[in-house]
């Protein structure tokens, strides 16, 4: 089982990113679940959501304590939350950032998703949309296939700019 924890702020699309990722994994022929950890629905508050991907049906509902990967959609969350908590040794960390971030003992990578979203004019209510470009970056890392990633995005969004943004993130991915 591959377990991913996504850190974001309320309203940034962390929950949707988890859902897209699970859908893409299912299109890859795997089993997947996406679970938000819900509190009161407050914009801007740090939130986490979880994705589990496996070859067998998934029977776990509790939160992910030892993720294989951590995805940070908003780097400012790292000031208030220990995003590395429980991350398995040698696990992956992806941060939405212009600057390269390195975390010793982990495989680190980054892409400027915000920049990509702004370039594609993917902005809703003043906030850049991060949930579709991040799927492109994760596809590059081999979490899901590119074809399934695009299919999942098209299933959930009609605006083709979302696919373009995912493709841009795929290209810009450093790793």
């Amino acid at each position: 089982m591959f377990e991913i924890r996504i850190h974001s702020r309320g309203g940034q699309g962390g929950v949707t990113a988890a859902r897209l990722l699970a859908l893409a994994a299912i299109y890859d022929g795997k089993y997947a679940t996406a679970a938000p950890f819900y509190g009161a629905e407050r914009r801007g508050a740090p939130i986490v959501s979880f994705v589990r991907i496996d070859d067998k049906p998934i029977r776990i509902y509790s939160q992910i304590r030892k993720p294989d990967m951590v995805v940070v959609l908003d780097a400012s969350v790292m000031d208030v939350v220990d995003v590395l908590q429980g991350l398995k040794a040698g696990g992956k960390v992806f941060v939405n950032s212009q600057q390269k971030k390195t975390f010793s003992g982990y495989v680190s990578s980054n892409v400027d998703l915000t920049g990509i979203a702004l370039k594609e004019n993917l902005v809703v209510s003043g906030s850049p949309i991060l949930n579709t470009p991040v799927i492109g970056a994760l596809a590059k890392m081999g979490i899901v296939s590119v074809e399934s990633a695009k299919k999942a995005i098209r299933e959930m969004f009609t605006d083709e700019r979302n696919v373009k943004a995912a493709e841009a993130a795929f290209r810009e991915m450093s790793a």
Binding site: L23, A32, P36, Y38, Y61, S62, R65
Partner: protein, 370 residues
């Protein structure tokens, strides 16, 4: 058709396929998505039901009752305080022998305001005459909702059915969902006592001490008859659509020396704990209770039983544990865990078994293992 959906959306999808004539509902976290999705189906013309946006849950159930007695198929959904608020009317629906189907998204009770999973809400409806099923996956939420209509409306039953799904843990999780065309699996509703102005009758009027017990006995008789109807419905569902369900879902129970009994998502996660325990050499099994009413005969002979209750009856104990100790002479360890969404992992569940102290009650997070 294969897709991905939340537990809430799965319920709404099933409702869309069963096409109730009247849906009356009031939103409440974490059930709201069901109501929103149904409202969208109705406004988009995908679902030709009358949708009544009532001003309270009490009225939601009253409206379902008023519609149902005309012979109409009805559905509502609620959670927690909404369920408690309609308590008077849930009794009425069962007493009036109306096959209303309701999804209840299990949630804790206030105070304080807690929106997370707990079964105490539905268990406070235990004695109302409703059939109750507890589900553990998005697919099961969908399948159980479809089957609920057929079971409730079966003329050997004619009692309302409540489908219970854990708040957030299941209502908001995304899992694969395979939707089906139920076709004639759910026959048209035929209510033998439907209102007919050409043959007027009085319903639910004054009933004296010489009659009331007969009316109540009739509910009990139907509850007993419901066992066969549930079995047959689940059998036919498996035959037609390939997914098998029982009164319980048993996992490695055959040779088990200790069996975990739980409901909902905890009952599913218990299977992972069983796998861990088996690797340690503990002969564990899991029996996830699906139907609470009618309560099935559980095969626990010769086993140690670890019951996990995500609920509590103050002054008595875990409600499921109480039900099971009333049925079996086997030793029971009662665990109270998951109250108000308290995080319980498969590792915690394995611990409950490793440290099981038969004949006692253990509040997870409060008591210490000895």
């Amino acid at each position: 058709m294969k897709k991905i959906a939340t537990g809430n959306k799965a319920v709404a999808e099933a409702v869309k396929q069963v096409r109730p004539d009247v849906i009356a509902a009031y939103p409440i976290t974490p059930q709201t998505e069901i109501v929103e999705q149904i409202a969208e189906f109705v406004s988009g013309g995908e679902l030709k039901s009358r949708y009544i946006p009532v001003e309270s849950e009490h009225s939601a159930m009253a409206a379902c009752i008023g519609a149902s007695i005309t012979g109409a198929r009805t559905f509502t959904a609620t959670s927690s305080h909404g369920l408690l608020y309609m308590h008077e009317m849930t009794n009425w629906a069962a007493g009036a022998r109306l096959p209303v189907v309701m999804a209840n998204v299990n949630r804790s009770l206030g105070p304080g305001w807690n929106i997370w999973a707990e079964h105490t809400d539905a268990l406070q409806e235990r004695d109302t005459g409703w059939l109750q099923v507890y589900v553990s996956t998005v697919q099961e939420a969908y399948d159980a909702t479809l089957m609920a209509f057929r079971i409730a409306e079966h003329n050997d039953v004619l009692l309302p059915v409540m489908i219970n799904l854990d708040g957030f843990l299941l209502s908001h999780i995304m899992q694969p969902l395979d939707t089906i065309d139920p076709g004639d699996f759910i026959p048209p509703m035929s209510l033998p006592h439907a209102i007919d102005t050409k043959n007027p009758a009085g319903y639910g009027g004054l009933t004296g001490p010489d009659q009331q017990f007969r009316v109540r006995w009739d509910i009990e008789r139907s509850m007993r008859d419901a066992v066969k109807v549930i079995e047959k419905t689940q059998e036919e569902f498996a035959k037609r659509f390939g997914r098998k369900y029982g009164f319980t879902e048993d996992y490695l129970c055959g040779d088990a020396e200790v069996i975990i009994v739980a409901m909902g998502t905890l009952g599913k996660e218990a299977e992972v704990a069983v796998d861990m325990l088996r690797q340690e050499g503990v002969k564990a099994g899991s029996m996830r209770l699906r139907w609470l009413r009618p309560f099935p005969k559980l095969n626990l002979k010769g086993k140690q039983v670890v019951v996990i209750d995500r609920d509590y009856s103050f002054g008595r104990g875990g409600i499921l544990a109480t039900e099971i100790t009333a049925q079996t002479k086997e030793q029971v360890a009662s665990i109270i865990a998951g109250i108000g969404g308290q995080e319980v992992t498969y590792e915690d569940i394995a611990d409950f078994v490793r440290h099981r102290c038969m004949g006692t009650e253990f509040w997870f997070g409060v008591d210490k293992y000895v």
